[in-house]
Amino acid sequence: MTQAFSRRSVLAGAGALIVAFQLSRSCAQTETGTGGGSPKLGLPGSLDDTPSIDAWIRVDSSGAATILTGKAELGQGLKTALLQVAAEELKLPANRLSLVTADTARTPNEGYTAASHSMQDSGTAIRHAAAQAREILIGEAARRLGVPATSLQARNGEVSGPSGARVSYGELVRDQLLSGQAKPASRLTPPAEFTVMGLPVPRIDIPAKVTGEAAYVQDLRPEGMLHGRVVRPPSYGATLRDVDVAQAQRVNGVMKVVRDGNFLGVLADQEWPAIQAMRTLAASTTWIEQQALPESTKLPAVLMNLPSRDTTIHDAGSPGKAAIFVEGTFSRPYLTHGSIGPSCALALFRDGELTVWTHTQGVFFLRDAIAGMLRLPVEKVRCIHAEGAGCYGHNGADDAAADAAILAMAVPGRPVRLQLMREQEHAWDPFGPGMVVKLRAGVGADGAIADWHHEVWSQSHMMRPGPPGTLTAARLKSDPSPPAPPIALAQPEGGGDRNAVPLYALPNARVISHFLPDMPLRGSSMRSLGGYLNVLSIESTMEDLAVRSKQDPVEFRLRHISDPRAREVIETAASRFGWAMRVKSSGGTGFGFGFARYKNLEAWCAVAMEIEVQRQTGAVRVRRVVAAVDTGQVVNPDGVRNQIEGGILQSLSWTLFEQVTFDRTRVTSVDWSSYPIMRFDSVPEKVEVHLVDRPGDAFYGVAEAAQAPAGAAIANAIKDAAGVRLHDLPFTSVRIRKAIGA
């Protein structure tokens, strides 16, 4: 409250306009697009942006409740977890709850479903709103029954008193009862009384997904729907010199060919004819292309030589006296999100209003971007979230929505379903940016780290909608939107420099972030952002310093960290793995360890790994993975396990296999054979996840907690097995074999 008061007094002063502008700018530069400034009202989670209780919870006269969230289900189990929170605090059985997710016409605006913020933002808001709604219902019952509220309790959708009096929520609720503003403090259910939170409640969305019910935006088939496909240019910045529209128009079943500048699309009554027409249209085009891409074999050097905005994000002590030094330049290539389902959207333009069903992570920002692209008033555009395949960050979802919108504008009254083709999803993905980290560190005579110097080079990890120019179609149209300015996400969450400041207690350390305004390839947010490479570099260096100074790598980490929660996950992973007793069963065995607290602000996660490197081929077989995670109050333990297991396997795939390839003109990794990812022959033999229980604590984001420590653990295991430190990702079998010199 103090903060809110002081901000108000600043706004009353002469500098009001400037301060307000700066605050809103800083808001736009968080990864979720919300928060980031000072708290407005001092309310918990997203209640601070949307304070009225009935924006989150509505109880109807039957006693059923509707929960509204501005976040979206991305396959992370969000719907189930939010319903658990609401059921627990409302004291209402889950089968009387329904949930509405991100919809610009109905739900609170909670920015992007990103940055592992959903439980923290929306879970916290819904928990407090539900607890306060329950207390309001109890208060109303007290008034009606003429008894003190303290003598009443809520259970199973009813308020009951000592005399046996009972009133159902449906009877109690009346107009405006829940329309008040939430208060900063709520009477939350103590963890010891939980009956829904903390339990492994099965996900509500899985039965439909495993039985072929309509579960995805891809499955929507409204009456009169047309199928759309687009033809993308062959490379960034290519301009259309020539196209024969008539040829595509003649394909059986084609309704319309749409051309707007460099944007090309087709509409047909069935999907296969749409695809054939797309191919016919593509074959009839000639494009003027540029050799604008960097030399892919020299990517790290290219990145380090680009103009940069440099910031010292951490500066402690002065270079200390080190006896043993470790130095390395680590790099990661561009990575693709690689959704198994290419992006899809459904759009309908009717009576001057455009509705788009989309699997975007930010319906409100996408609405603004589409309205800007089409020069429509914002209130004429509605975006409704519908599930797609997992996105893992900013993938083609928003582009597909923009494509569908343009095609729908050409056929008013007809719903248009647009799905990208595999090669379009792959080639036009806003990739996880290529990055470089240079790290030099040293251990003093006492065995403690005496010196630490980390530099990171990266382009923006935040090119999401908002500005229309973030949408591929908006840049292709004859009236193109201006290119969106590159956004550098600020510390402490950071973008390319996420997790670059080590959590270890280092008296002498310097960390420099080189933000690259140029974007050699299109890039944006992908799970854990720069955290993956920064942590892989930090943890590789920790391991090498430990080994060089003849200390156990786990003990070495513990020696340099005081945070008790960090220590506990490190110790738990190590003891469950049997780290101290580890024995190599063959010459190819390797053990590795990795730790990070995601963003230095969210969940703590440590990973221990045993692998086998086949020396002749360089192939890596993962025998055993043990992870420990502390995510604060757990809402659904199986959901947390599923996210951590997934994070580990996805990170193994990035680390061992993945790399966007390109020549000087085009992206050349356009399918799963040119961009291989993990297949079942590389799946670990065993993965264990241990949760550290923290009842009553806050929610700490978990969905991106495992990627960085898992990548680090395998990097260290390869070093342990092969005896050589690899620096350039991916650590393919070819590179490992070469490094071994076999």
Binding site: E271, N642, E645
Partner: protein, 162 residues
Amino acid sequence: MTTLIVNGESRSVTASPDTPLLYVLRDELGLNAAKYGCGLGQCGACTVIVDGKAVFSCVTPVMMLEGRSVVTVEGIGSSDDPGPMQRAFIAEQAAQCGYCIPGMMMRAQALLKRDPHASDEAIRAELQPHLCRCGTHMRILRAIRRAAEDMRPKAAEAGTGR
């Protein structure tokens, strides 16, 4: 016009003969389970069972299916009455986004019909054509092992399994 048997029912479809089965299932027959993933037979999301064998429906023209029997995930149970494979995936919570899962279930179903005692190694090898991006592999393997156990006694008792 092509006539094929889909989930036990004879269906005549009007799609042009070169249309991949995937689009016939999704657009003409309104079935959701088979998914478009790559159109190249590289990811497995579109997998269905044809005459007992797992096939990529995205690269199988419908003209090759005249008179043949196609089974999709809709044919092995429903959310009200899930079959053993579906029960196993629900019990193991073997999905994150779930987009790749129906294809995996189809290949596993075909494998277990052929070899109810398939080893872990055989299951892993069989699933090699399938991609999962969420990293749900460990659960998928557990679900298939659970389905195998569930399907075995049933097959012995009644001589059929779904």
